[in-house]
């Protein structure tokens, strides 16, 4: 199992070495960013069972925080209270993006875990919409619909010795890949820990979990904070890769894309968001190559979502796993039958 994982990693790391098509690399980078976001959503949707439909807010907050930190800004927080910030290095901006998104996750978690089910979904949707409207209307800070332009690319290095600039696509590809792997490992450790078992217990039967002493709010808020911070990291990478951020990053359709990725791949599995992310990250490009209009693409997404819920309610990864196990079982059974005969 570990060997297979290493082989996959080696393959992924080698791609920029033999793939010279920059467009393909671009598609892979965007897919990777969405996979990070989908993995973070899966932590909430798959492991705690809470459908957060405002996830794009954390992604956008990460993108805006990091961009504003690295560009510097001058804005009135309150009337008469002017805050000025000189441009900071990009890596610091990205760190702040993770922290700010995490803090927002904490606040939203504290507020919205008073309620469940339909109410929770609606609070998260409302939160994302409020954030979008702020990004659109607080022109002094965010430039509103004019967008934040000329966002610097990430540079890492020691002064005077060496410096890596993440202007080119292969460097960005490696950045996304490393962050994705780190997030994957973090989520795996988290869900296999005591906290992860508590989350799954809450998903399966909340009253029962509470009755044995699981602190509901604490674990749900923990999941939200981690999830929001990862989405914020994805947003920060996105901002410094495409180098322009406008309020459209908060569009609901991106949350829907993440939800489709998680649900199709298999919520509550580690590999699910990756599989779903690859399918739905590459599908737009395939459809575009087939001359299909973007509206048609969304119609297909919507129909697929309905079909997945009807026919693969668990998602692709659990379905494949069950099929594989079933095959092995029947193999074992047929062998057992065959032996006495021989």
């Amino acid at each position: 199992m570990r060997l297979i994982a290493l082989a996959w990693l080696a393959l992924l790391f080698s791609i920029p070495l033999w793939m010279n098509d920059l467009y393909v690399l671009h598609v892979l980078i965007m897919t990777g960013i969405f996979i990070i976001a989908a993995m973070s959503l899966n932590l909430l949707l798959g492991y705690t069972g809470q459908l957060s439909l405002g996830h794009v807010a954390f992604f956008g907050i990460g993108a805006y925080t990091s961009s504003l930190m690295s560009l510097g800004f001058e804005a009135h927080l309150l009337p008469g209270m002017l805050v000025t910030l000189a441009p900071k290095p990009v890596w610091l901006g990205m760190l702040c993006a993770v922290v700010v998104a995490g803090i927002c996750g904490w606040v939203i978690g504290r507020i919205s875990f008073k309620v469940r089910g339909a109410y929770f979904v609606i609070v998260t949707v409302s939160f994302a919409e409020v954030v979008r409207l702020v990004a659109l209307n607080w022109v002094e800070l965010t430039q509103g619909p004019m967008a934040l332009n000329n966002i610097p690319a990430l540079r890492l290095g020691l002064p005077g010795t060496f410096e890596i600039s993440f202007l080119r696509k292969p460097a960005n590809y490696y950045l996304v890949l490393v962050v994705a792997v780190v997030c994957y490992v973090l989520i795996r450790r988290l869900v296999n820990s005591r906290a992860g078992r508590a989350m799954i217990a809450l998903r399966e039967n909340e009253p029962l979990a509470t009755s044995v002493g699981v602190d509901v709010t604490r674990f749900l808020v923990l999941a939200t904070v981690v999830s929001a911070a990862m989405a914020g990291a994805a947003g920060a990478i996105y901002a410094h890769y495409v180098r322009i951020v406008d309020p459209d990053v908060f569009l609901f359709i991106y949350t829907v894309t993440m939800v489709i990725m998680v649900v199709t791949g298999g919520k509550g599995t580690l590999a699910g968001p990756v599989v779903g992310g690859i399918i739905f990250g590459l599908m737009p490009e395939t459809l575009r190559a087939a001359q299909i209009k973007p509206e048609m693409q969304w119609v297909i997404y919507g129909v697929l979502m309905v079909l997945v819920v009807y026919f693969l309610p668990e998602g692709i990864v659990p379905a494949v796993r069950n099929w594989w196990r079933g095959r092995q079982d029947t193999d074992g059974a047929s062998q057992a039958k065959a032996e006495p005969a021989a």
Partner: protein, 290 residues
């Protein structure tokens, strides 16, 4: 003061259509336990039907209106029969995912059919407003308000005075017992979804000529309808009616005195505050967490 009166009048008129949206959504949630994300699409569908009949076909405005509402109800019934019937007994998250899928598919079908360009609809009303002292209102908006009030009254009568309404209320209270008493649950569900969808389509058909018609108009309508329903309490019809008017007043006053850019943020702030202070909403009789 004059300005306040004018805002108040605008809010009252807008509130009527908001209440229609809210009643439709709360009926569907209360009776079927379905968080209906297609609600806003039915609103957009109503507006587009109005556009199609009046501007493309050239039908009479007053004839196009009931036609748009009927077609909306028909689309709602179709969605219920095709998508939701096989999900009876599924948990609320599953139906929610299906409704999100349906919403995305519907909205983009609208965009494919009518393109993303905003459309306006001609009305038979005089363009000069009706001036009443210090305030004025356009004839079109006045018409919208009157029709909305009639539809609200009609919904109340349907639910409280007819046999169908009685069956709906029985299903709302206790599905199993209602079924035992001979209520056809499936027909009640289809009727409820059709009625709720028809009301949303009516709101769209009424407001389409006032504003403009564009494919994503349903998104905000959906979210506002959620805000109204949460404010009034999920499943409460009087709550949705009053919630519609409260949201309209907040939006008008917010737009007038704070910033017009944040007009649409009012509903969401309202949701967040209500859920912090009184999660059951203002009028729900008991805790109804879906």
């Amino acid at each position: 003061m004059d300005q306040l009166l004018q805002h108040g009048l605008n809010a009252l008129i807008l509130g009527g259509t908001y209440a229609l949206l809210g009643i439709g959504l709360t009926l569907i949630f209360g009776i079927m336990r379905v968080v209906n994300f297609t609600h806003g699409e039915l609103y957009a569908f109503g507006a587009y039907m109005m556009y199609m009949w009046v501007m493309v076909v050239g039908a009479n405005f007053y004839l196009a209106l009931p036609l748009a509402v009927l077609l909306g109800a028909l689309l709602g019934a179709t969605i219920e029969i095709v998508l939701l019937r096989r999900l009876r007994g599924a948990d609320i998250d599953t139906t929610m995912l299906v409704m999100i899928g349906a919403w995305i598919a519907l909205q983009n079908t609208e965009q494919l059919m009518w393109s993303g360009v905003a459309k306006s609809i001609d009305t038979p009303f005089p363009s000069s407003p009706l001036v009443m002292g210090v305030v004025s209102v356009s004839w079109n908006r006045l018409f919208v308000f009157v029709v909305a009030l009639l539809l609200i009254a009609g919904s109340y009568a349907l639910i409280n005075r007819t046999k169908l309404g009685k069956a709906m209320r029985a299903t709302f209270q206790d599905r199993e017992t209602a079924a035992l008493m001979g209520v056809q649950i499936n027909s009640i569900y289809t009727a409820t979804f059709a009625l709720g969808s028809g009301l949303a389509a009516a709101a769209g058909a009424l407001l389409g000529p006032v504003f403009v018609v564009y494919p994503s108009m349903g998104d905000l309508a959906s979210l506002k309808a959620f805000a109204i329903v949460i404010l009034g309490g999920l499943g409460s019809i009087p709550g949705a009616t009053i919630g519609g008017f409260i949201l309209a007043f907040m939006e008008e006053l917010g737009a007038g005195y704070v910033s017009s850019g944040y007009r649409d943020a009012m509903g969401f702030l309202l949701i967040i505050v209500i859920l912090l202070v009184k999660p059951t909403g203002l009028f729900a009789q008991k805790e109804r967490i879906g």
